[in-house]
Symmetry: C2
Subunit: 382 residues, 2 copies
Amino acid sequence: MTDPRPTVGMVGGGQLARMCWQAAIGLDVGVRILAARSDDSAALVSPHTLVGDPDDPEVLVELARTCDVVTFDHELVDPAALKALEATGSAVRPSVDALRYAQDKAYQRASFAAAGLPVPAHVVVTEVEAAGAFAREHGEPIVLKRPRGGYDGRGVWRADDATVLDTVWRDAAASGQVLVETAVPIQREVAALVARRPSGQWVSAPLIETVQRDGMLRELVVPARVPDRATRAAMDLASRVVDLVDVTGICAIEMFWTGTDLVINEIATRPHNSGHWTIDAATTSQFENHLRAVLDWPLDTMRATSPAVCTVNVLGTGNEDWPTTRLAQALEVDGTHVHLYGKRPRAGRKLGHVTATADDVHTARERAHNAANALMGTEEAM
Amino acid sequence: MTDPRPTVGMVGGGQLARMCWQAAIGLDVGVRILAARSDDSAALVSPHTLVGDPDDPEVLVELARTCDVVTFDHELVDPAALKALEATGSAVRPSVDALRYAQDKAYQRASFAAAGLPVPAHVVVTEVEAAGAFAREHGEPIVLKRPRGGYDGRGVWRADDATVLDTVWRDAAASGQVLVETAVPIQREVAALVARRPSGQWVSAPLIETVQRDGMLRELVVPARVPDRATRAAMDLASRVVDLVDVTGICAIEMFWTGTDLVINEIATRPHNSGHWTIDAATTSQFENHLRAVLDWPLDTMRATSPAVCTVNVLGTGNEDWPTTRLAQALEVDGTHVHLYGKRPRAGRKLGHVTATADDVHTARERAHNAANALMGTEEAM
């Protein structure tokens, strides 16, 4: 009998690809990594890496040739190249049409608004005067976003007044259109995490609280500290989003809770930082469910296995120490799980994360922060 | 700053090495696999494989050259070659002296008996007449074991009477000495799982019940279904064993519970099948703790995260189907975790395992058996 074991092609070799590969080992699923560099996080641990440019249609075809399905570690891929790949008959999951919601913030806002989903008041402009007019109509502060290519706070600027607007405009408009939005008064940020099969069958994790600093996700708390009605509304919104987007695989829906309302911030149509806690503290990890979803296999629940979970990202501090030098100190903290990504340290770079479980949120947060601080050699307050 | 990330050399490329490597990815620890064949279970998923003979002293030195510590996926390694490696100053953990207890059943029985640890009545003989005399003195049935090289029921024969003894003797004595023991009247088989650092600091998992069939481990149940006093006695014995053996890394101590007494059966000085449930259902997995122990890093607890856990091994049925062909059916069973080893199917070969968690033992067993049966295409009773 021939070997029936499937292979998933992964566009991108970052930590998400690395953790997908780690999950794939147990299912005996092959993962072929398309990495930009041979020292990308996933390429370091994979025996099946193709180094190449993900925007090159020929490279994508070469990847797909030996894979049963192609999926993604990041959405920064040329849609035309992916459309060409889809046209060859290759299974691309999520589809190019689904991916567009994550790739193009202007498209996402317009589509979600048209579907009656709550998004911030917004406009797409090319002139600073139009941005100023929007600010006068809707009130300051406003937020300027490049529709494409941003991540971890890059490609986003906040303008509290007209003077700041003039200062940041040039950067924001460097690649043409600018998405201008009202700044939502945030009480908590939350994320819904859904895994969905091509048939539309899906499972979700409990609502996740995300704590951002400098536009970058720093911490997760599960369950999210918001009222029950906010949780119910968030899960309802998430179900409408994944059906509209018709996503296959993991989808993370990031939302703002204002204290009275939920507003959709961004979505990711791939495993997401907000789901990292599921590796150690959920019945099934987002990485395993992503693989199961894109292979059209049955999903399993992503229930929390502990009353309280906290995940803290480990960032480069700028002193270029590998977190490994302090790993033994971090491992002294009971009840924590360390995940390092093998990436060369650089200031602000995501080098890993720590997940802690406990009977209460305070203890889980304390443990995760203690271990993350140990790894970073810092003493950041919770 | 130079890259401080450590590399562990792993002698053997089986599923234990594979699951160690899977755990190592999160800690950003490199694992260099010394595999006998390029399609060994771990070699298939590792970017750092050395294919060679583990009994060749030069191959061991080549492995150790780029590793911080050398450890083991199996104990079937020539002690002289390992002694030579230790003599070069390489860190070998567990040490050759500790490994000997697992390699040589006659040595283990003699040492444990001398230390006052409970082992079956036994004798080492080279003539069938001496085995017969032992049977007459201690009563039938007796068990014959080759002191070295056996695993999964191989190298073990049971003789219920003198006729059977005559039949099996030739095989048992093929390599010289035979360890002859009384057959212990077993009510339950249990295993204690300990992770231990070079300093002697150690942590243990809850007592595990092991269910054997045809001399091969088929199923685990946690917690073990034995009286509390048996559990306490087993953990006490385990602590005496690991101190005597002076083991570094994971040590599994397999014991027989007769209903009134505990008797030591075998020990393994490496990650062990009895600890597979820890990947999905303990606070720390045996594979992570093995790496932490051999690197002399702090250990974490291996507490069960669920009231009841059951693991069932997935064996080759002889029809050469890859279990992957039936993976989708197995994944339909909620609350289970599938681990496949990538090994070519062959009758009786361990191809994977399934771990299920539940609030009660019956449900956990039902789930694990259902998923394992789905993978094997069988309908074995629990």
